[in-house]
Amino acid sequence: MRNIGVIIRKQLKDTIKNKTVLIQFVMFPVLTLIFEHAISIPDMPELFFTKLFSVMYMGMAPLTAVAAIISEEKEKNTLRVLMMANVKPWEYLAGIGIYVWTICMAGAGVMATSLPAGDVPFFLGVMATGFLISIAVGACVGIAAPNQMVSTSMVMPVMLVFSFAPMLAMFNDKIEKVAKIFYTQQIRMLLNNMTLDGIRPENIAVVAVNAVLALILFFAVFRRKGLEG
């Protein structure tokens, strides 16, 4: 357990100086605050930007951050040094996962400031679930990629699909039909309703299937390549 704490502290210190990762965490919460307070269009749905950017944040930040962190450690051989220091692969992954999840939840907390207080627990609960799936997918990419360049190439299309599909689905019915198979689209639908009563079995089923697939993929990649590839 101590090693998990070490990894989290290391990552906190490193992220402050790592603009590439830092911007992923900060961009959408800041944009949400600005857009919600600065832009008002007639007939625009309530909390439009909060709901839209939340889903994009979920599909982008944890995924790219986890993949970037793991692949950078592999490329620079710092991961090897940690393993040699008897940090277990699961401790490392748990440390990175907890760190990214916590930072993203803090970002979601900032985004939630635009919401009515009663909706905040529901919003954070839904976001927490989505972040977990994105972290698992990001870890798959980070483990599979031998270095940062490959990781970026791999994560980009995945991230684009998960984060932009819900937005594009608003403008195109065909895209919406396809996007429904992704957890980000289902979570967008949940956020649109923002009530427990509005949750449909379809929403839960798709999110659960996505989560299970992400976990299966994670274990398959981990088993095949090991943490260090």
């Binding site: 101590r2 090693n3 704490g5 070490v6 502290r9 290391k10 210190k13 490193d14 100086k17 790592n18 620079k76 051989n77 710092t78 090897r80 040094v81 940690l82 040699m84 220091a85 008897n86 940090v87």
Partner: protein
């Protein structure tokens, strides 16, 4: 302290190590010499448990390397040539990570940084360090834990002579503290200066071993004394009693500028045994 029995390792069809037997006693500096591609790093990876051998047995600290506990691993410091640093973080923060993992008090960080000559660079990000300073930071990371065994893979490769000497001093200090040092190098001068025992590795096999001076004496076939006279003339005498009279005469007349006996160096021994040079692995003509 470190024992290997019959270590063999192949990558695809290429046999990298075949039948390596080592027995390294506590408190010794052991040098594994060989040209690039001889299998030095592979052997160090096997001994440190980073790589499994195809066959053979490795014992470290009295246990099979695969059975080392977390506590055992905390007694082993490993500095590999390709191991990285957290570039954006300062020297102190880099060491703090490992101080936390190994349970080393933070007071050891500044002490170790001063010990390796990085006291003034404590707050400098690792990315801004020179190559020599990075090497010393790598060394600080392993010295901070006061290891019982220190594995150093090419610790001075590509460094300037001053930094090299500084690192040699640090390694010798570790030996004085009772640490067992296993180092790989292709620098025969380094091995001669530092090591109590060396093994010459070529194409995955140990071709010679022993104390550096013993190894050199073993291959002293020429047994000559080379004299350079003040006049500029070079003369060669047999290294035997019969030459004493002439040598005495030259000395008493003050004609000698330099005088050397013809013991081979580890480099020449290696060339004699393998026909290869230590520093680059290229074929060399042995004359």
């Amino acid at each position: 302290m470190i024992k290997t029995i019959g270590i063999c390792k192949s990558f695809s069809d290429r046999k990298v190590l075949s039948g390596i037997d080592l027995d390294i006693k506590p408190g010794m500096i052991f040098g594994l010499l060989g040209p690039s591609g001889a299998g030095k790093t592979t052997l160090i990876k096997i001994i440190t448990g980073q790589l499994a051998p195809d066959s053979g047995e490795v014992n470290v600290l009295g246990r099979n390397v695969s059975e080392l506990t977390g506590e055992d691993k905390k007694k082993i410091g490993i500095m590999m040539d390709n191991h990285g640093m957290y570039d954006r973080m300062s020297c102190t923060d880099n060491l703090k990570i490992f101080a936390d993992i190994y349970g080393v008090p933070y007071s050891e960080i500044s002490r170790t940084l001063k010990e390796v000559g990085l006291g003034d660079a404590a707050k400098t990000p690792a990315m801004k360090l020179s190559k020599g300073m990075r090497a010393r930071l790598h060394l600080a990371r392993v010295l901070m834990i006061s290891p019982k065994i220190l594995f150093l893979d090419e610790p001075t490769s590509g460094l300037d002579p001053m930094t090299m000497k500084y690192i040699h001093k640090l390694i010798t200090e570790q030996k004085d503290k009772g640490c067992t040092v296993f180092l790989t190098t292709h620098n025969m001068e380094e091995a001669t200066v530092l090591c109590d025992e060396v093994a010459l590795l070529n194409e995955g096999k140990i071709v010679e071993r022993g104390a550096p001076d013993q190894v050199c004496r073993r291959y002293n076939h020429q047994k000559k004394i080379n004299i350079h006279l003040v006049s500029g003339e070079d003369i060669e005498l047999a290294h035997e009693a019969g030459s004493a009279e002439e040598l005495e005469k030259l000395m008493s007349q003050g004609k000698i500028e330099t005088i050397h006996s013809s013991e081979p160096t580890l480099e020449t021994v290696f060339i004699e045994l393998t026909g290869r040079k230590l520093d680059n692995g290229e074929e060399a003509q042995y004359a």
